[in-house]
Subunit: 310 residues, 2 copies
């Protein structure tokens, strides 16, 4: 048995983990993300935390296969990384990790690492290809083909949140375009659809009296049978199903998995999305299974470690 | 030096070829596609034509690496093939070719084979990934990632013509959905856009007096500076650029190539499509080169032979 580290670097917290090569999560811990000085302390902080962890176990350096890391951005071929939210622009990363720990380092975009985790031991276990769509504040995505991440020639592989989906949109997406999937099929988009549909009518709805109108309250009301909330859920799901059909007509994965906060709506979401997907998908892939991601917030560390085994 | 056969099976003609492994097209010939009896004579016809060709050269059987074939449908894992237009449904193909010729046989969807050909020795030579979009009667596509065809889990990889692009469409696409890219960005779609825009106004246009309103006459008029024809070209290109942006935001290829009849419009098309693409593409891939396929109708045989080298 050998061991290795899986790291999921976030904007406020770094999730750290020790895995054994049979897929057992041995240990999990967190350190703060030091965003000061353009994030230049982060690689050293991660490496020293790993070094400290290595001292707790009676293993030789040879017992470790390395460090896998997912970043909220892109890891370049030279081992440096860029991540707007951390202030990183070609910041040395993999080389720094190796210099301090003596271990091999590899990794990639955090959404792609999460997809690799779900492929390995999550909702896509046993499949050779999958698409993971993460429905959070934004819409993220990762694509696995034949067991490998589709990173793309410019690190934009799997940027599913930015598929153009609504030609008539006038508002701008964070990326600068108009009508991106993320403008509708994210938690933020869900609230916007709800706000617009609530203000377009006087129809009574339990949503008018919730303390906070968010994606969860929208789906809770839809599940409880509130008619307007159910129509909001339909509109949200139609956008998402259309986006997933675009993905399926292009990469045709074995399975599509939904993760992130909005996916907690579960069957109420899946049923609607499958209906919309089937409407827009190419005949050969109309029956592609759409399910839920199962590793939740741990998908990133599972995938980051798994990247060491590719 | 070794040799092999590249075959591109079409609905009326089978294009046959002999290649050497350095990429030289040694010989090219055609046989008729015998569509009678559910197309069951086709595999034998192809195999016997290859056998006859082998007798013309003083090579040993060991000098041949095999037969690569592209079909207008799908080749299954068991070597059988399905192709609606030929009446094929899991029709034995690769096994039949091998049984009669003694040569190894492999292959795939014809659009994917064409993409592999363009990747090998065409417009994508030197790239590791590309998307080929064929603008003909319909819109076909093929995707190459790390030198391999993205076939998809259900043979629907690269079905770019059926990306949902226009949510407001009421007319049905041949695939059964509504608002597919092919309904706008094909030669057929081009004529429809032109017909609608011509009938919506009394504005003079040279297009009103052409003998036959087809994609070529539309682009000829746009290139000659006819204002209405130029706007038709803009609308066509906006749809296509939006579809290509969807593809780029998902698979992020190194280059996008346009082929098929409409691509003969050349720079008038490329300039417009690049502008539209840049509007909808994710920042990291806004500058993805969009160029022309260069192997024309031979892309399929190049790719089919190249599939033997994967």
């Amino acid at each position: 048995m050998k061991y290795g580290f899986g790291v999921d670097l976030g904007g406020t917290t770094v999730k750290m983990s020790l895995f054994s090569t049979d897929g057992t999560l041995v240990e999990k811990w967190f350190i703060d993300t030091d965003a000061s000085n353009g994030g230049k302390n982060i690689p050293g902080d991660i490496a020293r935390s790993i070094l400290a962890d290595m001292k707790k176990y009676p293993f030789d350096p040879d017992d470790y296969i390395g460090i896998g890391i997912g970043v909220p951005g892109q890891i370049h071929k030279d081992g440096s990384a860029s991540a707007v939210n951390l202030g990183w622009d070609h910041t040395p990363l993999l080389g720094e990790l190796t210099k301090i720990t003596g271990l091999r380092a590899t990794g990639g975009n955090d959404a792609n690492m999460a997809a690799l985790g779900e492929y390995w031991l999550g909702g896509g276990k046993g499949c050779s290809s999958l698409v993971l769509v993460t429905l959070g504040t934004g819409v993220g995505g990762g694509i696995i083909i034949d067991g490998k991440c589709l990173d793309g020639a410019h690190g934009a592989g799997g940027e599913l949140g930015h598929i153009p989906i609504e030609p008539d949109e006038t508002r701008q997406c964070a990326c600068g375009s108009r009508g991106c999937l993320e403008q509708y099929a994210s938690a933020t988009g869900n609230v916007r659809i709800a706000t617009e549909m609530l203000s377009a009518t006087d129809e009574p709805s339990t949503l008018r009296s919730v303390a906070k109108l968010d994606a969860k309250s929208c789906w809770d009301a839809a599940i409880a049978g509130d008619p307007l909330a159910m129509r909001i859920a339909d509109v949200f799901s139609d956008y998402l199903g259309r986006g997933l059909a675009a993905v399926a007509n292009i990469v045709d994965p074995e399975i599509i998995l939904l993760g992130g906060g909005v996916s907690h709506a579960g069957d109420a979401l899946l049923t609607r999305v499958r209906k919309s997907f089937e409407k827009y998908a190419f005949p050969a892939c109309k029956k592609t299974p759409i399910g839920l991601a199962t590793l939740s917030n741990d998908a990133g560390i599972y995938g980051a470690f798994r990247a060491l085994l590719v």
